[in-house]
């Protein structure tokens, strides 16, 4: 079980801010493939991962990173703070 968080337009497109996901995905990319396959709203949110960023346990990471030991995965668009 892993906590998956969504922010900004990713959150709006999927329709929820977080969920617990039962997954055996080895990498972020595998998890994205699983989510994409679920429903159209996930497919829409993850259509272009180059437009997305991912954080693993609150550290920026890459889509090829392994998920072993990770408790929290967050997907969001490029940040626009400051």
């Amino acid at each position: 079980m892993i906590d998956v968080l969504y922010f900004a337009w990713v959150r709006e497109r999927i329709g929820l801010p977080r969920e617990r996901v039962e997954t055996g995905a080895a990498t972020v990319a595998d998890l994205v493939a699983e989510l994409r396959a679920r429903e159209e709203r996930y497919a829409a949110a993850f259509a272009d991962t180059s437009a997305l960023r991912v954080a693993l346990d609150q550290e920026l990471s890459g889509f090829d990173a392994p998920l072993a030991g990770v408790r929290e995965v967050a997907f969001f668009p490029p940040m626009t703070g400051g």
């Binding site: 922010f7 954080a55 609150q58 550290e59 668009p77 490029p78 940040m79 626009t80 703070g81 400051g82």
Partner: protein
């Protein structure tokens, strides 16, 4: 060095006054404040989403790096989230260093990183609807100079 991530409004002038008064031994203090623009009346406000927990960690790492790199005497970062109105201060940074070069460089570094590496997302609210602000290529490119 202090970091505050808050929904409440803050007064940049008052914060600068407190920061400057507490600085000992610095020769140069630089501050930056970002304000909500109304874009000629087109915008009615701004909504800022953030990632609680990660936000504080990410800003802490950025500030630690700035303090070490420019031997800062002190540094302050305040960033709001939630609903803001035109003219509101979105965020501010303040840096205190021995000389002006370090204070300016550290403040610009902090701003460049806060723009693209701290988990905040801005949504512009207008009379004709609202829209997520797109990240600018220039902001990403600005990181390359450090």
């Amino acid at each position: 060095m202090r970091i505050r991530v808050q929904a409440e409004p803050f007064d940049p002038g008052g914060e600068v006054a407190a920061f400057s008064a507490a600085v000992r031994g610095a020769g140069a203090v630089v501050t930056f404040s970002g304000l909500v623009r109304d874009e000629g009346g087109r915008l009615t406000g701004m909504e800022i989403e953030h990632y609680p927990g990660m936000t504080e960690k990410a800003i802490g790492a950025i500030v630690d790096e700035a303090v070490a790199r420019w031997a800062l005497v002190d540094a302050l970062v305040i960033h709001r989230h939630g609903r803001l109105r035109p003219g509101d201060a979105i965020m501010m940074v303040a840096t205190a260093a021995g000389h002006r070069g370090e204070a300016f460089a550290a403040a610009e570094f902090l701003m460049d990183y806060l723009k693209s590496r701290a988990p905040f997302w801005k949504k512009e609210l207008g009379a004709e609807g609202s829209e997520w602000v797109a990240a600018k290529d220039a902001d990403e490119a600005a990181l390359k100079r450090w």
